[in-house]
């Protein structure tokens, strides 16, 4: 086998581990800016995985998807988030309900749960167990971030992590969805970010903070 082939195979097979590292990093990060950077890193790993798959399957569509993901998720969304953080001028911490060590233990348990969940299934349909487990773990972590972080921006980030997980699950089980659907999903994510951005401004203007755990009372 050529060196590039070996490298592509190994990128596809080891990226799951790096994705699990980003999950742990998301659990420990205390600041919004760190979380955004980790999300960008996570998307870059997924891009590498898509590119590896594209190289192995000799598929032009997958290269386009990899390019789109790189532009939107590695560059576009983190940039938009940083812009939002700068504009909102709120405090920088994520207002976590759990301490970093607790969060790490929770996501570690989630990783085990996802391994247990996909074990029989992955064997049945002959897909790499690591990658499928990583995608389930990403979905669970996204949901965990959404419920445990108080800052309104982290809800959006949790949703994006969750979306990364769904994308990865599609990639590993079917070698990617058709191009038109991928473009639709990416467009969806962008519109979601736009709406959440507007929403964050409204929350800030009405309540003068961004802590969703304090949104108890209605205000006129």
């Amino acid at each position: 086998m050529e060196f590039a082939d070996v490298a592509a195979v190994k990128v596809v097979s080891t990226s799951a581990v790096f994705l699990m590292m980003t999950i742990v990093l998301l659990a420990v990060s205390r600041r919004i800016s760190t979380s955004i950077l980790v999300f960008g890193l996570q998307s870059a790993i997924i891009t590498a995985q898509v590119a590896g798959t594209a190289y192995l399957e000799r598929s032009a569509e997958a290269w386009v998807v990899a390019g789109l993901i790189f532009v939107v998720k590695v560059l576009g969304i983190p940039y938009a988030f940083f812009w939002l953080v700068a504009k909102l001028k709120s405090r920088r911490d994520v207002q976590a309900a759990t301490t970093p060590a607790q969060s790490v233990f929770i996501v570690v348990v989630m990783i085990f749960v996802s391994y247990a969940a996909v074990r029989s299934y992955a064997f049945g349909i002959r897909v790499p167990e690591d990658a499928l487990a990583a995608s389930v773990a990403l979905i669970l972590t996204g949901a965990f971030l959404m419920v445990s972080r108080g800052k309104a921006l982290m809800q959006m980030l949790g949703l994006l992590v969750l979306e990364n997980g769904i994308f990865l699950a599609a990639l590993t089980t079917t070698f990617g969805m058709p191009l038109i659907i991928e473009m639709g999903i990416l467009f969806d994510v962008l519109i979601g970010l736009l709406l959440m951005g507007i929403f964050a401004f409204r929350i800030r203007d009405t309540f003068e903070h961004l802590d969703v755990s304090r949104l108890r009372r209605l205000r006129g």
Binding site: V6, A7, K10, T14, A16, V17, F18, M20, M21, V24, V28, T99, P100, A101, V104, F105, V108, I111, F112, Y115, D130
Partner: protein, 313 residues
């Protein structure tokens, strides 16, 4: 010949340690846009200290005199377990990683005793903080070793290195990535580097290592400082040996050894740059956040051990 090279590489780790400290200091200075001291400065510091008188506080007992010598002796014997340019170390096949971990722990223990024996308030404060940090760092250090040795089917550091040398670079498994991250965090904590302890100053109330050495002077201080430099060098050499040993001489020829030394120095320089970048960009953690920082390392190491069951390699 193997034994001779073992002696040479152990001496290299001991004698080059102050140079590594100097290089890290110089790199740090450059990142902060300062000129920085010469990289040979730690040697002249040590020479100066060795020529000075050893002042002992009137309240101190023999423990205070003995502690620096024991700390130095213990760390030098730990050096004999680390392969550098060949895959076997001086006593590599006699002792396993548990012995290595507890040699490091004995050194810390006697440094704490010496600091408390010195009788100053800062010594006691530094010792109690160091006890906290080393207790929390010991678990992840052992677990990371356990994970790697399960994968390599060998309890000795030399055995693990020999197994890793036989693997393809791309075959590094999840276990290795997790264990590497754990050991990286633990190495920063064990060597008293930035997010846990600030090595650059002894003027802070939050100091750990510098608080412990305040009462020492002359040759005692020199031995402690040298031992501390060796500790950083040993931990970085350990990271290189366990996780990136490629380039080490498989059979003993001059060319192979030269290549191994070159590869080792390049890897060491990369790690030194990494340490310097961390030290110039990260703020020191509050003391009560250190357990969280090391808790992350513990979680990663537990994950590494459990991954040895999941990973098929």
């Amino acid at each position: 010949m193997t034994v001779l090279i073992g002696v040479v590489q152990a001496l290299f780790l001991v004698l080059a340690a102050p140079l590594l400290k100097g290089i890290v200091g110089r790199l740090k200075a450059r990142f902060q846009k300062r000129q920085g001291a010469s990289i040979w400065r730690p040697y002249s510091d040590l020479l100066k200290l060795f020529r000075k008188d050893d002042l002992v506080p009137p309240t101190a007992s023999w423990v205070f005199r003995a502690a620096p010598r024991i700390v130095f002796a213990v760390i030098v014997s730990a050096v004999a377990f680390i392969p550098v340019i060949q895959s076997s170390a001086l006593v590599g096949h006699k002792g396993d990683f548990i012995l290595f971990v507890y040699l490091l722990a004995i050194g810390r223990f006697f440094l704490m005793l010496g600091a408390m024996d010195g009788g100053s308030a800062f010594g006691g404060m530094g010792a109690s903080r160091d006890a906290l940090v080393s207790t929390l760092a010991e678990g992840p250090l052992l677990l990371a070793f356990v994970a790697v040795s399960i994968v390599a089917h060998s309890p000795t550091i030399s055995g693990i290195v020999q197994w890793t040398l036989g693997q393809n670079f791309f075959d590094i498994s999840a276990v290795h990535i997790l264990a590497f991250t754990t050991l990286g965090i633990v190495a920063l904590a064990e060597a008293g580097r930035m997010p846990v302890d600030n090595p650059a100053t002894h003027l802070e109330l939050t100091m750990i290592h510098e608080g412990m050495v305040l009462e020492f002077s002359g040759p005692s201080l020199a031995l402690i400082e040298w031992a501390n430099a060796i500790r950083l060098n040993v931990l970085l050499a350990l990271l290189i040996a366990l996780f990136a040993p490629w380039g080490m001489a498989a059979e003993i020829t001059w060319g192979g050894l030269g290549l191994a030394l070159g590869a080792y120095l390049v890897k060491l320089l990369v790690l030194a740059v990494f340490v310097a970048v961390i030290e110039s960009s990260v703020a020191k953690l509050r003391m009560y956040l250190v357990p969280d920082f090391l808790g992350v390392a513990t979680a990663l190491s537990i994950l590494a051990v459990i991954f040895t069951m999941i990973a098929k390699r």
